[in-house]
């Protein structure tokens, strides 16, 4: 199964769509430091990762290799490894470090209340 193609028309433009209302995924505490958790957002499966230095990233949750659950993968500051066959994907861009097809990387931020906000159409790369 391949990751859903979610690139919005304005995704390529660089500066992210300004008008898009983000999806509120709830408190950052749901995601332990150094791990990922998956969310169903508007019918799409998104994995959100919280690296040890504090940054938060979001990628499509299904590995393009053979459908592995990326939220269950191991990560460092740069990449996540799929738990099934250990293919790697850059957290910031979704590009594979092992030659697989890329994942969609989504814009994600933590707001003042500590909630995680996801911009489904503000794909960083798709």
């Amino acid at each position: 199964m391949s990751a859903p193609d979610t690139a919005a028309p304005d995704a390529q433009e660089g500066p992210l769509a300004v008008h898009e209302a983000p999806h509120r995924l709830g408190p950052l505490e749901q995601i332990p430091v150094g791990e990922g958790r998956a969310f169903g957002v508007d019918g799409q499966q998104i994995a959100v990762f919280r690296v040890r230095s504090g940054s938060v990233y979001a990628l499509s949750a299904v590995c393009p290799h053979r459908g592995g659950p990326l939220a269950d993968g191991q990560l460092d500051e740069r990449q996540v490894l799929c738990p099934l066959h250990l293919n790697g994907f850059e957290l910031a861009t979704g590009c594979s470090t092992t030659g697989e097809s890329p994942l969609t990387a989504y814009r994600v931020e933590v707001d003042g209340t500590g909630d995680v906000l996801l911009y489904l159409h503000g794909a960083v790369r798709g």
């Binding site: 150094g34 791990e35 949750a61 459908g67 996540v80």
Partner: protein
């Protein structure tokens, strides 16, 4: 007329719109293809309808010979019962023969073979898997005026044919049978019929038996064997007619006397079932022509698979090629792997013909002057071996009687493996190619990594493009990253291809890739600087303090081993299996293997496992190769509840850790037992449960040298010998590598065996490389060294090893207690929230 399934695209309750897949032919290829499609999540894409003109579910046609010979009953050979179709939401129209495919309206029309009812189904994708039928040579008296076979004449293709033959053969007044055709099927039929007390003759038009597979010399030996069984063989004999009036009384032969008989079985070859394809306008030569994607050349929405297809000019009559075809078809039709392609199969057959082992592949005889033939014949024992070698590659082999070397020969034939110079060893002793011959001679197309499908040529081109270290080539091509059994071969090829450009990759000595230190240096630094967590190790020892995901698991395991209770356990350092204490499966579900010490269980335990399996609808309950029970396909969310209901400790089937101890019944029950193997096994498993180590550790204890627990091939294997003593073997393996363990010591009592086992384990835990199993570790450090350190305590560290092992044992906690208090938020939250799980087949 009933219109079945003639609705357009179907939408399931919550799922996406599914397209309609129709399969014609419910035999081995058709049903297998559907299984492969389902395994790729096809149930979400397709609503499946199957037509089969046999009124049953799919059965194992190969087994019909066994049904005839009485080794199997016809009940036992079903591969897919009617329930299977229902469970998988497949509409099966058994007993319906498809008579027309309207390619333009995309509708198939079928007729019920008994009632004549007509049914139709529309399709978006169609698969033709109509198989073959028995070839019926033209001869007088074969059929009745209505076209059906004369009473007493049988084909040998279907379960109904077989049942008919058995009923007829059992009849008191039937004493003689003639089988027409001396190929595999004919000989099987002849042997089977003998069981009913019939005297059997085989009439074969060819000059020797099994001429499709065997050369004349081999066939002569086979013939002698067949005759020894009491079967008459008539070669170069052409049947001209069936004698008798309404009932068989004999067969007439050209230029020979007629053979009297009461029944005739025709096994004169097969013909692909192509009439439907011909009348529906598909390209048919010898069979339905398909491309490398198993698509008909006429219509991209119509695929064909099995004996009814012709691929690159070849038509196959054995199942192995069909399996490959089914996989490719499924990859293509589901889009799971659109690069999948079928390139044809080199058929190597290994068969039991009339009770004799026969293997045949490739050429039967030398063809060119330069072809080399290695030949051994021992007609009296019915042994014959002939190998045809060209340019140092095996291009053909015929083996009769003793097939012990056949596995190697098939591999050598299939993959173009280099052959041992000592040709004799290919016939008689364990003939794996020696490492040195390896790289240079290997065929460029030979697949080196069987997990990731990497050929020698791909490895070489990675080297050409500038990767000159073994690690670099492995990263680039993914070779060696599956089971790892090909790593040595990959290394040799890279070294050969790179020649003096080869770079020794310093990282091969590092314990984990992210920290440039070997194990002793790393352990020293950790101890000196008091680094108790994985993040502390990165901060202190990694270049720029950079974390590395690929190093976390190895470091976590090492720190736990070194610090025990003082280890600061950061959950993100753990691999998913160790975070949720279960083994992740291909669809993101998990397997649960409770501890069952020494493979010994109780009715109460079994009952509890059964209850849990039912309550949680576990898709498969399986006995493992490690003597315990695996509950497969458990949802991540359900894990805590499953453990709580089981009330059994974890069996650690998921970790790089101590796993299990296999035992045999031993002294308590077995009449040969000379030691209490079960109790020692249970003691070992209780003592070492769950301990982390550089790689898995598996043990076994056998009650006598018959070695029923396979102790010689375990990381630690213990064997009771006469006189109350115990042998301890270490470094054995029978997984990706086979190695007989080395005898470390023979001791007088189980307590000493337990102590030395612990000492060996601790030494291994402290000195082995990450992921280095004992089968590599023991030869690397040397048996003599191990004996000295562990048994004779030459370094004086024995007591320390024992103490450190004891601290680890004391620090052990059963991880399944986390059922009651999760270690992290969302520890058991699904990784694929919208996925319908589980996808593994339900049994």
């Amino acid at each position: 007329m009933t219109a079945l399934q003639d609705r357009p695209l179907t939408a399931t309750e919550d799922g996406p719109v599914r397209s309609r897949l129709v399969v014609i032919g419910n035999g081995m290829a058709g049903a297998r293809t559907v299984e492969e499609i389902l395994a790729r999540g096809g149930a979400e894409q397709f609503s499946v309808t199957m037509f089969g003109d046999e009124p049953y579910g799919n059965y194992n046609r190969i087994m019909l010979s066994h049904v005839l010979s009485g080794e199997e009953t016809d009940e036992d050979i079903y591969l897919n019962t009617l329930d299977w179709y229902a469970d998988n939401d497949i509409s099966l129209h058994a007993g319906h023969r498809v008579v027309r495919v309207d390619r333009f309206a995309k509708i198939v029309t079928a007729v019920h073979t008994a009632t004549g009812d007509v049914a139709e189904a529309g399709y978006d994708k169609l698969i033709i898997a109509t198989g073959s039928s028995s070839f019926m040579p033209r001869m007088d008296g074969l059929t009745r005026p209505d076209g059906s076979l004369t009473d007493g004449v049988f084909a040998f293709r279907t379960i109904d044919d077989t049942r008919g033959m058995i009923a007829y053969a059992e009849h008191d007044h039937h004493h003689r049978a003639v089988v027409i055709g001396g190929g595999l099927l004919g000989l099987e039929a002849a042997r089977g019929l003998q069981r009913f007390g019939l005297s059997v003759d085989v009439v074969h038009a060819g000059a020797h038996l099994m001429n499709a597979q065997l050369g004349a010399a081999g066939a002569d030996i086979l013939r002698a064997g067949v005759e020894r069984l009491g079967i008459g063989v008539h070669l170069s004999a052409r049947t001209t007619g069936i004698l008798g009036d309404g009932r068989v009384t004999g067969v007439a032969l050209q230029d020979r006397e007629a053979l009297p008989c009461d029944m005739v079985v025709i096994a004169a070859g097969i013909r692909p079932n192509v009439e439907l394809a011909v009348t529906s306008g598909f390209t048919v030569e010898r069979a339905i022509v398909v491309d490398d994607f198993m698509r008909t050349v006429d219509d991209p929405d119509v695929y064909a698979v099995g004996e009814c297809v012709q691929h690159r000019g070849q038509v196959y009559g054995l199942v192995a090629p069909l399996w490959e075809q089914a996989g490719v078809l499924a990859d293509q039709i589901t889009g799971a792997d659109v690069t999948a392609a079928y390139h044809g199969s080199r058929t190597a057959t290994k068969l039991k013909v009339a009770g004799m082992e026969v293997a045949a592949m490739g050429l039967q005889e030398p063809e060119r002057d330069t072809d080399e033939q290695v030949l051994f014949a021992e007609p009296k024992r019915g042994v014959y071996k002939s190998l045809i070698i060209r340019d140092d590659k095996l291009v053909g082999a015929t083996v009769l009687g003793d097939t012990s070397k056949v596995a190697f020969l098939m591999q050598a034939f299939d993959q173009g493996l280099p052959l041992p110079q000592e040709r004799l060893s290919m016939l008689f002793e364990l003939g794996a190619p020696s490492a040195e011959v390896g790289a240079a001679e290997l065929d460029p197309q030979a697949q080196v990594c069987n997990c990731n499908g990497v050929s020698k040529a791909q490895l070489c081109s990675a080297v050409e493009s500038g990767c000159t270290s073994v690690q670099g080539v492995m990263d680039r091509t993914r070779a060696g990253k599956g089971c790892g059994s090909c790593k040595l071969m990959v290394k040799q090829i890279v070294e050969w291809a790179a020649g003096d450009r080869v770079q020794e990759d310093p990282s091969v000595h590092w314990y984990v890739p992210g920290i440039p230190m070997d194990k002793p240096a790393l352990m020293r630094a950790i101890r000196e600087q008091g680094l108790r967590s994985v993040s502390a190790v990165f901060a202190a020892l990694a270049p720029d303090g950079q974390e590395d995901a690929r190093s976390k698991m190895g470091l976590g395991s090492l720190l736990k081993m070194m610090w025990n209770d003082e280890y600061v356990d950061e959950r993100d350092a753990r691999f998913i299996n160790d975070r949720v204490h279960a083994n992740i499966q291909r669809d993101g579900t998990f397997s649960v293997v409770p501890q069952m010490k020494g493979g010994v269980t109780s009715p109460a335990q079994l009952r509890r496992i059964a209850d849990v399996a039912e309550k949680w609808q576990v898709p498969m309950v399986k006995l493992t190769g490690g003597q315990r029970i695996d509950l497969l396909g458990v949802r991540k969310e359900d894990l805590p509840a499953v453990w709580a209901d089981l009330e059994m400790p974890s069996g650690y089937a998921y970790g790089k850790s101590f796993r299990t101890v296999k035992t045999c019944v031993g002294q308590e029950f077995c009449r040969f037992g000379v030691g209490d193997s079960t109790n020692l096994g249970i003691a070992l498993e209780s003592r070492f449960q769950g301990l982390e180590s550089p790689a898995k550790i598996k043990m076994a204890v056998s009650g006598c040298p018959r070695n029923c627990a396979e102790s010689y091939v375990k990381d630690v294997g213990i064997v009771a010998i006469d006189g109350g003593r115990w042998e301890i073997y270490v470094g054995g393996a029978a997984g990706a590598h086979i190695r007989k363990g080395d005898l470390l010591a023979t001791v007088d009592d189980p307590e000493t065996a337990e102590r030395l086992t612990g000492r060996f384990m601790q030494y291994y835990r402290e000195h082995a490389k990450w992921l280095e199993r004992t089968y590599a570790f023991v030869p690397r450090v040397g048996l003599d060294h191990l004996k000295a350190v562990i048994v004779e305590d030459s370094l004086g560290i024995g007591a320390d090893l024992d103490t450190r092992m004891q601290s680890s044992i004391d620090a052990y906690r059963d991880p399944w207690h986390e059922a009651h208090r999760p270690a992290t938020p969302g520890q058991f939250r699904t990784g694929l929230p919208l996925q319908v799980l589980p996808q593994v087949p339900i049994r």
